[in-house]
Each structure stands twice: as structure tokens, then as C-alpha cells.
Symmetry: C2
Subunit: 296 residues, 2 copies
């Protein structure tokens, strides 16, 4: 599939940038930099930062100029995974087929590595953003939106709701709220950041926001489905963990068939949102087909 090649190419660009932007592993205190790098380079698909670059493309911007913002989004994603995996939270030993951060570095360093990745993400967003030269006001808007998306009404709020919901019956409305905060907010702000920093117009921004919200939803539903039907070797973790943790998901709440239909609908809505955009948005379109057919 062409899209996988295109994604792999973008992932290489992003990996090289992450390596440049992160403190070197031999900088003191070394253990924290080793821990940060361990999880950042643990085999992520880089789909979120690739969408940030693609959003710049879609509005006629230069993806290189939003590379710091794209990397910041990936660092934030990594921070949230490290903290979610902690024994006090989801208590996961494996992530993408490798021992989780606290299994390798201990709980204390894992907590601090998560903290440091989030801190560094915001530092990079501002510092890197200043070097690539967008209007300072646009950069401030992005910092404002990113910190909103990561806060108690976004990423963190979603994780809290998820913890509270464990072992309890959950309504569709609750499930939508949890996923919108926990997964959706970061997809949304990642795409918006790429567009805003590239000088997108209001209509373009609205289209891309609708795209990102639906993309994030489809991505989450397929994640839930893969937890039931997936191939452990491909997805890098044990299947059935949601059922074991008595977690309500689209798959457990609706069954695979209806969950699949909901994912398909979100994919259609994501594609429809791009109708007014040209060929420059093709990466975003192909990403939807990838999610629809996702096996890992």
C-alpha cells in the first residue's frame, strides 16, 4: 500500500527530528534522558505527528516549518502513555511489545520521564516554533490550544474518567466523552497546530478540525476492535485486556459489527470534511483508508 510507504517516509523524518530535539542520552542526569528516549523510540507509528505535517501540506504550508510542533505532539503522546501504564493507573507491563518505562527504569524515573517529555514538548513547541518563524501570535495560540487539549478537560480529564469508569457500566454518551478527551483531543490539536502555524484560513481550519475529530474517533474504535480481534504479534500487546480490566469500549458496548459500522461512518465523515481541499490533502485522505483497514 502506497500510504504505508508515505507514512514510513514521514516517520523517518520525524524520528530524525526527535533525535535532534531530545537532550542527548549522555547529558546529566543520564538516566532521565535514557528513560525519555527509551519510550520515544519504542516503535510508535508516528501517526499523530505525520498528521500535523500533512495538515501543513493540506493548507499549502511547508511541513518542515511545523516539524517542531509535530514532534511536540509525539512527545506529549509518549508522556501520556508512560503515565497511563504506571502501576497506580493501568498497570501495564508491555507496550508495543516492549517492557513499559517503569518496568525498565522504576516508577520514580518513569513518572519523571513523563513529566520531562511533556515539559520538553512545550519547550520545543516554542523554541522550535520561533526558529521556523511563524507569527508569534499564532505560536501563542497553538501553545494555548495544546495546553487546553492536555488539561483536565482533555487528555488528563479523559484518563480520570477512564479510571473512574473501570468496572462500571458506561453509556454511549460517557464513552464518547471519555474518548473525545482521552484520544480525540490530541489528534484534534495536532492537526490544528499544523494548520494554524501554516496560516490556514478559518474555513480550512474548520474542515480540518472536523476531519481530525472523526479521524480520532475512527482510530479509537478500531483500537477497541483490535483489542478483541487483533493479532498479538502485530499490535504488540495482549488482546482481550479491555475485557480483563472490565473496561467499556466500543467493542464491548456495541459488539464488533456495530462498532465497525460506527468506525466506517466516522471515516466517511472525515473524508467528507476534506471535500473543499485539493490534492494537497491526499495524505490525510489515505490516512483514513489506512485506519479503516487497520490491523495494528
Amino acid at each position: 500500500m502506497d500510504f504505508l510507504d508515505a507514512l514510513a517516509k514521514r516517520a523517518r523524518t520525524i524520528d530524525a527530528a526527535l533525535d535532534r530535539y531530545l537532550p542527548p542520552e549522555n547529558a546529566d542526569p543520564q538516566v532521565i534522558h535514557a528513560a525519555m528516549r527509551y519510550s520515544v523510540f519504542a516503535g510508535g507509528k508516528r501517526i499523530r505527528p505525520a498528521l500535523t505535517l500533512a495538515a501543513a501540506d493540506a493548507v499549502g504550508g511547508n511541513p518542515e516549518h511545523v516539524l517542531p510542533a509535530a514532534c511536540a505532539i509525539e512527545l506529549i503522546h509518549t508522556y501520556s502513555l508512560i503515565h497511563d501504564d504506571l502501576p497506580a493507573m493501568d498497570n501495564d507491563d508491555l507496550r508495543r511489545g516492549k517492557p513499559t518505562n517503569h518496568k525498565v527504569f522504576g516508577e520514580d524515573i518513569a513518572i519523571l520521564a513523563g513529566d520531562a517529555l511533556f515539559t520538553h514538548a512545550l519547550h520545543l513547541l516554542v523554541l522550535g516554533g520561533r526558529e521556523t518563524g511563524p507569527d508569534p501570535v499564532l505560536l501563542l495560540t497553538v501553545v494555548e490550544e495544546v495546553t487546553q487539549a492536555c488539561g483536565s478537560s482533555g487528555l488528563i480529564g479523559g484518563q480520570v474518567m477512564d479510571l473512574l469508569a473501570e468496572g462500571k457500566p458506561v453509556s454511549e454518551e460517557d464513552l464518547v466523552r471519555i474518548h473525545r478527551a482521552k484520544t480525540g483531543a490530541l489528534f484534534r490539536v495536532g492537526v490544528r497546530a499544523g494548520a494554524i502555524l501554516s496560516g490556514a484560513g478559518l474555513e480550512q481550519l474548520a474542515s480540518l478540525t472536523t476531519y481530525a475529530e472523526n479521524f480520532g474517533l475512527a482510530f479509537q474504535i478500531t483500537d477497541d476492535i483490535l483489542d478483541v480481534t487483533g493479532d498479538e504479534a502485530k499490535i504488540g500487546k495482549l488482546v482481550g485486556s479491555d475485557a480483563r480490566n472490565r473496561k467499556s469500549t466500543y467493542a464491548t458496548l456495541f459488539g464488533i459489527g456495530e462498532a465497525r459500522a460506527k468506525a466506517d461512518r466516522a471515516c466517511s465523515d472525515a473524508l467528507a470534511a476534506l471535500d473543499e481541499l485539493g490534492r494537497e490533502a491526499d495524505f490525510l485522505r489515505h490516512a483514513v483508508q489506512f485506519v479503516a483497514a487497520r490491523e495494528y
Copy 2:
């Protein structure tokens, strides 16, 4: 003492602002907002944000305009205390005479409350800063400096070095590095933020930076001394915890007499740094006298 009245007055202004700036306790998910507010309103002296306001005064600025930045500094301080107190870190049950965050809300919520306070601090810095209207470039500079001060070469790096040093003999050089990162960086950036956002000139900024570095050092040394000689009722925690945790401090490394002499020297250096500033810097001067005579 006049200074304690002046500090109490500033603390009331800061407390009212923190109450306005934090999400309300009844906003969903309520438990995270309750946990954030619990530690923010657990009896802090507000010395760091008071210095941010005082730095604005010292360079002829309006302290009200840097109130969001001052509150952001206090939220960051609170986040670092919550994470430092966790069982996986210093495992403290009491802070300022009250049960620590994880004792009340559980480890999962405590980790997330720390995360959320840091996230909200940066959101507030940008959002509040935009409302009070400084040059966007100055605001970006402050976000850049704050995220630098909080990262793996600042706050987080200091906590890592502190964890690694536990139970081991530590040189004076190491101790200086740990304290400069763990305590000094936040005092330094808090003062600089107040000055930068108020349009300080380069010489003023350099003077205030030297002041803040020495103030932070004196504050840390007196903290170490109080852990040996302090009155538990006044300082709100058990004395002797550093010795029990086999932690090297200025008091354990040099003895009380020499530690006191080092604190006095830092206080003199802090005062000398203010020589070129007028009466507008008197709060900063009186703060030094307060630290020199500190009992809690």
C-alpha cells in the same frame, strides 16, 4: 514585622487569583479539580509568586499584569511537591501539616493532579498573559524560560539527582548542582518572568537574576537548617527527615554553624545585587531579611 504583613497582603491577592484561575471544583471530572485545589490551598506561603509580583514592582511595572505568571509559578511549585511526595519518590505522608495529595486522593489521581497543575500553569501563563497584554515575543520568551527551568536540566533534573544521591556521600559541588536545579531554577525564572513581562532592561534583568539565584540558595540552606533545628508545629512537618532518609544537605554536610554562614553570605549577595535599584525593590530586600531570620 512589616514584611510579614506585606507578604500576607500579597498572598491574599494571589489566593484570590488562584481561585479564579483554577477550574471550579464542581466541573467534571470533579475529583481531579478537587485534588488540584486541595494541594494549591494547603497553606503555602506564596513566597515564589510574591517575588514575581515584586520583580514587576522593582522595574516599574504593574504587578497586576504579571498575576497570571505569578500564579503559574505557584501551580508549578505545587505540581512538583505532589510528585516529589509520591510513594515512588520521597514517600511523604505529611506536607505543611496536612496529609499529602496521594494520601487523600490515591496515587493515580495525585499523579494526574500534578500533571494537570503543570499543564494548567502553562495554559494560564499564555492565556492570562495575552489578556494582560505584554508583547507576544516577551510572553514566548517567558514560556521558553519556564519550560527550560522545569525540564531535565532544571526542576526535574534536580529531583532525579536528589533521588540518585540518597544514601550516598555527596560533594559540595553536587549539592550546589542539585539545589540550583531543584529549588533555584523556579525562584530564578519566577523573578525573571515578572521582570521580563514588565519590560525590564538587560541590566535590571541581570541584577534581578543574581538576586534570585542567591535568594533561592539562602532559602534552600535555611530549609536544610530548619529540618534539624526547626519547630515541628511551625514548619508543619517532622524534623530530622533528611537525616532519616540519609539525605545530604547543607546542614548534614557542613554542620549548622557553617551552613548558617553560607546562608548569610547568600543573603548579602542577594541584597548587593539590588544596589542599583530604588525603593521599588524594597519588597525584595525585606524578603531577604525574612529568609535570614526564617523560622518556618
